[in-house]
Symmetry: C2
């Protein structure tokens, strides 16, 4: 029979008791981590959010409590009243924060029993993630999950403190809003009051935050839920949380420097890290050239080296024709991998092929510095020496080359670089390499559509001096955009927005949009911009991902209390679910799959 | 031609300049509030979030800037560089915070022009609210709206600060979740990946916050968006924001006292109020008896008085039969309204009829203390004196009576009381009457359905000593529920939850639910409760409403940046809107209204 709380008040958390509480009477409440009977006593490790403490029941202290404790099992919920004692010599547990003391209980109140959980409530659990998600309330009892939630709370609190101190207002924007031209697929919500019409859940508050700048709010932020109905990958959820920020009357440097301070504060207050600001900056072009990625992981070398000039003159036809046909030939030096087997090289080739590389050429450096390679014969000794030199090759190294269009070269070698770094264990622990990537191209050409698309979104401002190119060479125009990258992961990105009508018109023209298309897609926004738009810009951070990195987790699911699976379902509540046909009828929609009643 | 920000950095906000900035060179950025030409000079009031400052252009200071300023109109966006001067004697403006100074500008940069706004950017605007909502970005430029947003930000910040200091973790719960048995209509979201299934947007995170207590999170909060697809009244929005709180191992007093401290802190940090805690407490029964409402406005008297014992013996049949038939006869004293006309009394009767009162009996007190009433003849002089006494009647008063079932008496007289208080101007300014209403009935009997329903929700705990009544007299069981009321408005409400299985079973039994129904509606929740549920309870505050009261606004729309109309539409973005049929096809739904393409 479960008992009630009535008349009882917790005095301490379990995990906070120390030797200086000795001889105090305490009331503790929590869950049974485990029970052991030893030498006529019953030992119960009691757990709450703060940690564990050892509670002792002795028939000499209280016979009734002792007998009650005999019935106690794992995960039972108890209150105990007792006295804090120093542990006898030899029984101190240095691995436990409360290990110097134990609590001799004279009273036990049993709030609730518990069935045996399907897995242990402990860290480093080795069970199927689906089981953890199904019983998320048990999974979240594990200390590492509790700490992740504490860290997440600390992170959002410190973001809010920082932005508040810097004059930002948190302003809430609607969740029931309009389909935006953001690119991804929208979640839709049928309207009951407006038959045939639908709300969309926001992919981001982009339009609203720009509207708030037009409204003179000057500095806006929001930690806000966003939604994208995309097929899920490891690092994606249908709903995710964004730190959304916008400022007026500033330029890119202002935002970047403020955001460095903010991230430094968050890292300090959550993970205890001391970051050095300003963060390094790297242009998009340099990032692509050196790392084959616009989110370079700079914790290790293995950089891409360009041998196109050598390739252009060499006798190896694949290299030669690529170099002369506007392509690139680049290589990376897999240090010490000169003895890779044919099978290992084939695996790397297959890996590169995923990124559309048509082949992977390679050279091994023998102990005497000579080169062993099926293609070596197509190069003069001087060319081989130049290549060796370019890639800083040493005996025992393996040089890998891709010859292709620049995009393919970057993607394939960039991916190969990360793959080899993990395989060769090149990534040092404990490094937090933040950096900014800047000067992104404003537009990307899509050969299939036969037109340019905005790389970020159509309100991103071009770099001032590139404006004349919008007309003539749109592909060369740089955006006033910036991404914050941490250890090869994009944690945030933003831009200065266009606030001048004539630039916006040039932009739409470069995108090949007709007046009608512009009107259909952007009418209310464009109208708003006619009433006095200030210069403004902003940024958004993926909050789940940031917390994941700060807590050293591998998955954002481990920093979200109730995440969804790859098929966008919640295993605990079974959402989404069937609904009553009457509910749909009220919303003026009908399901097009076989009609079913709610189970 | 609009100019860019390049190379310019704001040094001050407009509204912060004071006499101690005299002789400083400043760079200001903002919107033109108005322009006046006077004595060969141009005066521009420049506005930003902080307020206004007067900028002066003189041809003697800079001819080019002066000429540029001639082209400036209201709401143009400018930067100016200039020198802060003390205003000449006689031109100081004491109504303006920056009224002691003006800025002589030597440089003007025009960031943007503006069309003439459809209404003035000023407080106390008298235009149709729909126009304001259509041009919300202009409406939000008005100082009172900006201050409302600042207050809202301050309120949420101070809630978060308080709860963080008190060991609460902000934990995010899903937006794409499952239809809950909460009562109101759900917003549904079709799932693309799970054909025929739907998510529901949360009406509140009730189940999740209880699950978090089971998960050992101990103290949870969230400032969170909730959704209810109800027909809208003045004080409702399809999406609204809730301060959601839950604690483990506590009882009602713990929560109530902590919440008093929290609300006191919020009121102090936003509106500068000093509240006295603890707040008064009143039982539901007392509130209904004295005020005819479970959210009594205690800022004024006009309390309900019970004359049922007198009525039971009197000769007036309507009173007599009601009193003897289990009904009530109660009255209120409309002080000084003894000279109301027949028409005025009829209006009051009609008002009471809205609340189902079948009639409104009345008595007027003549100057000599005698009673003038069509029904006076049915009462003995002693009875009239007793009634007079009970209602503390004095010459010139009007006594109003309703005889009916207790619920109708309370509703009609409670509403009449508020109506008269406003009409007679009885409500004092500047009073902040917070109070707790406690001891709500756990269950309400619905004669139509022929069974009891949970007044809050089925997880609300009964008062310990009333548990034996659950079986025998369910209607008499009190809930461990508490509402926080401010000036007659419910700002928050919560309860201690049931954590003991046997009590939950009694509750379901009292609700007349079959085992199957229990399983269908609450299965995952009940399963969770079998793994060790701690005693817990919580509360939720309507954040929009709280901010509305703190800012003294009449409508929650004035404290929401982008609210919706009574037909749940956003006049600025035109959400909800038509969508492409292909979007619906992907979601496995079809609209049942005439098919339309997106306009």
């Amino acid at each position: 029979m479960a008992e009630s709380m009535q008349g009882m008040k917790r005095t301490h958390y379990c995990g906070e008791l120390r030797i200086n509480h000795e001889a105090q009477e305490v009331i503790l409440m929590g869950w049974v981590q485990r029970r052991r009977d030893h030498g006529g006593l019953i030992f119960v490790d009691l757990r709450d959010r703060s940690g564990l403490v050892q509670v002792v029941f002795s028939p000499e202290v209280d016979q009734a409590a002792f007998e009650k404790a005999e019935g106690v099992r794992n995960e039972y919920v108890l209150a105990i009243v007792g006295r804090v004692n120093a542990r006898p010599e030899g029984t101190v547990n240095p691995n436990m924060e409360t290990g110097e003391i134990e609590v001799y209980a004279h009273t036990l109140r049993l709030f609730n029993k518990a069935k045996t959980p399907p897995f242990y409530i402990e860290d480093n659990l080795d069970v199927d993630e689906n089981l953890r998600l199904r019983y998320r309330y048990l999974d979240l009892r594990r200390p590492e999950m509790q700490q992740a939630m504490v860290m997440r709370h600390r992170a959002s609190k410190s973001v809010r403190d920082f932005l508040d101190q810097n004059g930002f207002l948190e302003i809430e924007t609607p969740m029931l809003t309009k389909s935006t031209p953001e690119g991804a697929r929208d979640y839709l919500v049928p309207s009951r009051v407006n038959p045939g019409k639908f709300y969309a859940l926001p992919q981001s508050p982009q339009l609203f935050k720009q509207i708030l700048m037009l409204a003179g709010m000057d500095r806006y932020f929001q930690i806000v839920r966003c939604f994208r109905d995309e097929d899920l990958r490891a690092d994606r959820q249908p709903e995710f949380t964004q730190i959304d920020i916008e400022m007026s009357f500033i330029d890119a440097d202002d935002i970047m420097s403020l955001m460095e301070q903010m991230i430094a504060m968050v890292c300090k207050e959550t993970a205890g890290l001391e970051l050095t600001a300003p963060f390094p900056r790297m242009s998009y072009q340099e990032a692509m050239d050196r790392f084959g990625s616009d989110k370079p992981d700079t914790r290790f070398g293995l950089e891409l080296r360009d041998i196109t000039p050598i390739a252009a003159k060499c006798g190896f036809k694949v290299f030669n024709s690529t170099a002369l046909g506007g392509g690139q030939v680049k290589g990376i030096n897999a240090k010490g991998c000169g003895s890779f087997s044919r099978k290992e090289i084939d695996d790397l080739t297959a890996y590169a092929a995923v990124y559309k590389a048509k082949g992977l050429a390679y050279m091994m450096i023998n102990e005497d510095g000579s080169i062993k390679s099926a293609i070596a014969k197509f190069f003069t000794p001087e060319e081989l020496a130049a290549i060796s030199d370019k890639l800083e090759a040493q005996p025992g190294d393996l040089l890998l080359f891709v010859a292709d269009k620049p995009g393919v070269v970057a993607a394939a070698l960039g991916a190969l670089r990360l793959h080899l770094a993990q395989r060769l264990n090149l990534i040092p622990e404990g490094m937090w390499n933040f950096l900014w990537v800047t000067d992104f191209p404003l537009l990307e050409y899509d050969p299939e559509a036969g037109r340019y698309f905005a790389m970020h979104h159509p309100f991103t401002s071009p770099v001032e001096e590139d404006i004349p190119l919008l007309d003539s060479e749109p592909g060369k125009v740089r955006a006033r955009a910036y991404d914050m990258v941490l250890n090869g992961v994009e944690v945030g990105g933003g831009s200065i927005r266009i606030h001048r009508k004539e630039i916006q018109e040039l932009m739409f023209k470069a995108l090949g949009l007709s007046e009608q298309e512009v009107k259909d897609k952007f009418s209310f926004m464009l109208e708003a911009f006619e009433y006095g738009a200030p210069p403004h810009g902003g940024i958004a951070f993926g909050f789940d991902r940031l917390v994941m990195l700060l807590t050293g987790k591998d998955s954002i699911r481990d920093v979200i209390a109730f995440p969804k699976t790859a098929s966008a379902t919640c295993l605990m509540t079974q959402a989404p679910d069937l609904v009553e046909p009457a509910q749909l009828a009220e919303l003026h929609v009908r399901s097009t799959v076989a009609p079913k009643a709610k189970a």
